[in-house]
């Protein structure tokens, strides 16, 4: 059975990737965002944090089983 960390890594990787890519689009088209502090580009850096965290968990555990 795959360890739970594999699944956590996978979902963070997928969701983080989508949010990060969406963040790139929002940074290139700032008129599409109308939230407070939009100039800090939260989707971009928070998506990247999720993506990197998920990638580390996923690739560290993808060959493990418990």
């Amino acid at each position: 059975m795959k360890p739970i960390w594999y699944f956590v890594g996978l979902i963070l990787l997928i969701m983080g990737g989508i949010i990060f890519l969406n963040g790139i689009y929002q940074a290139l088209s700032p008129e599409t965002v109308n939230t407070v502090l939009k100039e800090t580009h939260p989707s971009l850096w928070w998506g990247a944090v999720m993506l990197i965290s998920g990638a580390i968990m996923f690739f560290k555990t993808k060959n493990q089983s418990v």
Partner: protein
């Protein structure tokens, strides 16, 4: 309020979550071959898995939104729920109580009551726990539909049925194992989905000190205004916090509530089971940096008219629960909104799955096998576990519709924990540490404790007497009354249990070996290095707790 709009990307993220949790249920089904796999996740989890699940089972979205809203209402005193109102009890469970629970190989908390006392005490607790979990599960479902309807404009029925069907599917497929897997996923989604609210609040206002500086002293300290109830936001004396919340409510919940303790029972050995609540204590202490900080940001922003931030009003009353969704709408662009909504959805669904997986275990072992079918085979019990999961979800849906048509049962729910858990903690504490407490003493003491708590609640609700009799203060809040009522219920149960035990037949000491401290040889974790001992980490946790309380005194 205008509903928070969801973009295509937000919907994709929400859909991924639903597909993921059902997929996990199907994946784990092939590893769920017997009743121990279904009810106890095979007893093979590390303390990291059991510990995060232990915390997540308690971390429903209702709590996240409710506590952020409570912070707006009461100020920083709400942090007591996460620090003094949780950590000492979690450490006590890991150090002193878990050896008796885990070593006796019981499958549920009522199972311990059967071994320590007798069948009637077990069935009493089994039935009250089963009713409580189904009510909580249904109310949780109702609250979720209310939130999704209010903030996202979603249809009530579709929201309730879709999430109930999803929970029923993955818990029926692989029981506690899939519940634990999804709880851990929920833990990470909550941190990633909601911690950003606090981060953005700090960026907007300046720093944590700037946020605290914008609040009155009654709202921004933990203890310094607690000697006079009129000087703090919760209108409570420190004795009420220490005795009611820190002792009775906290120990009553964390050391006896099977919903959370079931996760520790899934650990692979005694050391891992003991480490489960101790590890969870560190993450519990960190949670105020999501919920309390977000609530404080909401107060600071609403005190500043130029921010444009204002909580919703329902019929002239402030809707405190709107604080967290409104902050999400304020700071999160599309994509992140989907993540925030998924975090709340995951919290609701994991909370419901936790209640249902605890219910199916208590129903199957402590009611069905104990009373209705004593000769049931293991295979039949596995089948019964699956059937009771589906039935439990259907009853929860019924409770949710009941709550929708009769919203004041939400008020009653607030008090149910103090009706069931506060007196049970007295029974457990006395039973585990004093050998001469008798089965009749425990049974009648427990009944008296539960009834007295119920009577105090109804008495105040219907003006039979004044609340100040319970709180011993001329000023009080609902929260203060909850704390004091729990204390009195505990005391009544404890005193009656002791008095009745003095005059009723005691169990022979040899039947209590392994169940009562003093009659059990203590050789736990003696041959492992200091840095692997649960006690070592418990002391570190305690030191962190003290430091946090001093910093925010």
């Amino acid at each position: 309020m205008e509903a928070i709009g969801l973009s295509f990307v937000d919907w994709v993220i929400i859909l991924i979550y639903f597909v993921f949790v059902i997929g996990i249920g199907f994946y784990l089904k092939k590893f769920t071959t017997n009743e121990e796999d279904f009810f106890l996740a095979g007893r093979k989890n590390s303390f990291w898995v059991a510990g995060l699940a232990f915390l997540s089972a308690n971390l429903g979205a209702l709590e996240l939104m409710g506590m952020t809203g409570n912070t707006f209402k009461y100020g920083m005193y709400v942090a007591h729920f996460y620090w003094i109102g949780a950590i000492p009890a979690m450490l006590f469970l890991g150090i002193y109580m878990m050896p008796f629970y885990y070593s006796s190989k019981i499958k549920s908390i009522p199972g311990y009551l059967k071994l320590r006392f007798d069948e009637k005490t077990r069935v009493l607790n089994g039935i009250s726990f089963a009713i409580m979990t189904l009510l909580v599960s249904g109310i949780n479902l109702y609250a979720m539909a209310l939130v999704l309807h209010t903030f996202l404009g979603w249809n009530w029925d579709v929201s309730m049925w879709a999430s109930a069907a999803t929970v029923a599917a993955y818990v029926t497929l692989s029981g506690l194992m899939s519940a634990i897997f999804t709880e851990i996923i929920q833990f990470f989604l909550i941190w990633f989905g909601l911690f950003l609210v606090s981060v953005m609040g700090i960026i907007e206002i300046g720093s944590v000190n700037d946020i605290l500086g914008r609040l009155p002293e009654s709202m921004n300290t933990l203890w310094s205004t607690s000697s006079d109830p009129t000087q703090n936001g919760m209108l409570i004396h420190w004795a009420g916090i220490v005795l009611g919340l820190g002792f009775v409510l906290s120990f009553g919940y964390w050391t006896t509530d099977f919903l959370v303790i079931q996760r520790a029972f899934s650990a692979k050995d005694l050391r891992s089971a003991r480490m489960t609540p101790i590890l969870a204590s560190f993450f519990k202490m960190a949670l105020p940096f999501i919920v309390i900080l977000a609530g404080l940001v909401a107060i600071a922003l609403s005190n500043d008219p130029s921010s444009g931030f204002k909580l919703l009003q329902d019929g002239g009353q402030i809707n405190y629960d709107s604080a967290l969704p409104l902050l999400i709408a304020r700071y999160y662009p599309s994509g992140l909104v989907g993540l925030g909504v998924t975090a709340l959805l995951a919290g609701f669904m994991a909370g419901q799955a936790g209640n249902i997986s605890a219910f199916n275990t208590v129903w199957t072992y402590d009611i069905y096998k104990s009373v209705l079918n004593k000769k049931a085979s293991d295979k039949h019990l596995l089948w019964m576990g699956r059937v009771s999961t589906v039935v439990g979800v259907i009853i929860s849906l019924g409770t949710a519709y009941w709550a929708k048509s009769f919203p004041s049962i939400m008020d009653y729910m607030q008090a149910i924990f103090s009706w069931v858990n506060a007196p049970l903690f007295a029974t457990m504490l006395l039973g585990m540490f004093i050998w001469w407490i008798t089965p009749n003493g425990a049974f009648w003491g427990l009944i008296a404790g539960m009834l007295s708590s119920f009577f105090m609640y109804m008495g105040v609700k219907f003006d039979w007497f004044n609340e100040s009799i319970i709180t011993m203060s001329s000023v009080q809040s609902d929260m203060a009354a909850n704390f004091w009522r729990a204390w009195w219920a505990w005391l009544i149960c404890a005193v009656l249990t002791v008095v009745i035990s003095l005059f009723t037949k005691k169990k022979p000491k040899e039947e209590l070996v392994g169940l009562v401290k003093g009659l059990t040889q203590e050789k736990i974790d003696q041959n492992i290095p200091l840095t692997k001992k649960p006690e070592f980490y418990a002391i570190i946790s305690l030191i962190v707790l003290i430091i946090l309380n001093v910093i925010f005194w």
